[in-house]
Subunit: 341 residues, 2 copies
DNA sequence: TTGAAAGCGCTACCAA
DNA sequence: TTGGTAGCGCTTTCAA
């Protein structure tokens, strides 16, 4: 009872180990009666095919790597992970997670040692800037490399990305179209490592520059240090302004949500006193009725995983590189400038 | 270049494959010069030890299973996962995730097929009720079984759990001590599968029953269907009450936070009009200044993983079963009954 | 300190 | 449909 190997099962079933193996992995090649008997005995003996042995024999690892910025606990990372997992797990793959590839030291270590070399069937790179040298290193793994929200498609076999720049352009334009004249973009500095954040800032700036041609516009990027208190820093910076803006455009909901809640304590209420839009449509955005740009990292994870599975199988991709658009979700934190509630 | 096996490395380095192997896994058994040379050549040839082969040879899988209720995307599950990962990854283990072991069908499938049999070195069971038959099935895996927030320690080699019942007792008592007379406990039905929720409800009820002996008390459990709209259901149920309560005790922050935000739209403001306490100290609890019971699933994950690693190594645990207490985090949503802001 | 060789548990080829 | 068998890439005795 317990710990039986394939030989014991074969003996108990009166068949060869080949047949036991086939009963599990090629059921169609085994007669119904034999297969049933084998599986039955295997169950009694607590036997199962060893993934390690299968992996060794097949030359596949049944494992993929996922590299991410920061912690998996952020909304974006969790959703991405869950999306990838939802495709890869049923396909028999485990995900080997490498977090915090966002510090100089971790990056160097990872890309020098390349601990995943020969040990994964594909690599996902989620949402961070990666330089050409690092891409070269990944190529030495000789496995498919799939990017999610990477700043460029260079060196990637497949990518799926949101158009952050355009998304934020849309959000900003929305505020400008509502007639707002004084727009502030509170922005936590994450510049070097998170491509999404940079792209969004560029989108805001471009929309404002375009808008200036048609309307008078007073806009600014309000940069605050990153870290756990970035929202409070942004709050202080906003309150320290000579004149409070009539619109706030946020790089992400995690900035917008605290601002909406805390500005109220200082007498600034949305949409009565100012409009605000977020980005992500992350948890509680709906609860506080935040107008925001929706992106769906879970779906992006699934798309990326689908591409990975095809590439692992040696198939060609019809569209290796996909770009998705963020969608404006109009809710209750924006109003035409000058209107009264 | 690329895809070299251990023989090529051995040849290029002028040593045997044994020495190559040792250079990686037993560096102390190889002379400095030889080791350096081998590792250098291995790097040039993009070689690395195969985990599959190591696993097969050693009899270990370097993989653990994590079974969870629902999606990994919930706050509790993500934190738990991240905690386990933070210990297991550096120790060389991948986590094979099994989500949604909370439907009758998924459970039956999982515990019948036992897909992890012979394929993991340990199993974590996170936060759900598991019956004796299922525990028996897990035992057939002949690997350590570690529970996180399981309703009982029976059948587990180790557990780490929060005392939900006592935590909620404390929260409720806190409200009673503030002098509140009319306390409602909005509760989403998750009864059968989530042991924590049940225990918390019991804690609330017991605290109220104890409190009744000393004060007059009007308390009730307000049960609403589970699902994505549970907070809105609770909101409706609260507003439909003949008399609005002066205190609300919530099974979790995800109930409390929407209630605080939405009740305000109906003129009920905390702490002016009512006190409310949550449970978890999850994201935005601090932002809205919610008084709540803090638990730390990340730390529980780490503790559980530490136990798992010892058990995998065949060591005995000093304290296989640990219970931690939730801590009251006093913030701004509670006030002595009758006080004016 | 190093090398030779057996064998971990399986899959897949070939033969029956 | 089934069985025999080589070999996947490594680790680990044992011997040198």
């Amino acid at each position: 009872m317990g710990k039986a190997d394939i030989y014991e099962v074969a003996k108990a079933a009166g068949v060869s180990i080949s047949t036991v193996s086939r009963a599990f992995t090629r059921p169609d090649l085994v007669s119904d009666k034999t297969r049933r008997k084998v599986l039955d005995i295997a169950d009694k003996l607590d036997f199962n095919i060893s993934r390690s042995a299968t992996a060794l024999k097949s030359g596949r690892t049944n494992r993929v790597a996922l590299l991410m910025n920061e912690e998996i606990t952020s909304w974006f990372n969790t959703q991405t992970f869950a999306g990838i997992e939802s495709m890869m797990h049923p396909a028999g793959y485990d995900i080997s997670l490498f977090q915090h590839i966002d510090t100089e030291q971790n990056r160097r270590e990872f890309f020098t040692d390349l601990p995943i070399r020969r040990n994964v069937d594909a690599v996902f790179v989620a949402s961070f800037a990666i330089d050409p040298h690092e891409t070269e290193q990944l190529k030495r793994l000789h496995v498919p490399i799939i990017g999610i929200n990477t700043p460029s498609v260079d060196g990637f076999d497949a990518t799926v990305s949101i158009d952050d720049e355009r998304g934020m352009y849309t959000a900003t334009q929305h505020l400008i179209n509502l007639g707002h004249k004084h727009i502030v973009y509170p922005c936590s500095e994450a510049a070097l490592l998170n491509s999404s954040i940079d792209a969004r800032t560029r989108g805001f700036i471009r929309a404002c520059q375009d808008g200036e041609h048609k309307h008078e516009l007073n806009w600014q990027v309000l940069s605050v240090p990153r870290g756990p208190a970035f929202a409070d820093s942004a709050l202080s910076a906003l309150l320290a302004l000579d004149e409070f803006p009539d619109a706030i455009c946020c790089q992400m909901d995690m900035m917008a949500i605290p601002l909406v809640l805390k500005l109220e304590r200082y007498g600034h209420r949305t949409p009565r006193d100012y409009s605000i839009v977020g980005f992500d449509d992350s948890p509680y955005a709906d609860t506080i009725n935040l107008t925001t740009m929706r992106q769906d990292p879970y779906a992006m994870g699934r798309t990326a995983a689908g591409k990975a599975l095809k590439l692992i199988d040696g198939k060609e991709l019809d569209t290796p590189h996909e770009v998705v658009e963020a969608q404006l979700v109009p809710r209750g934190t924006d109003m035409p400038f000058g209107d009264v509630e």
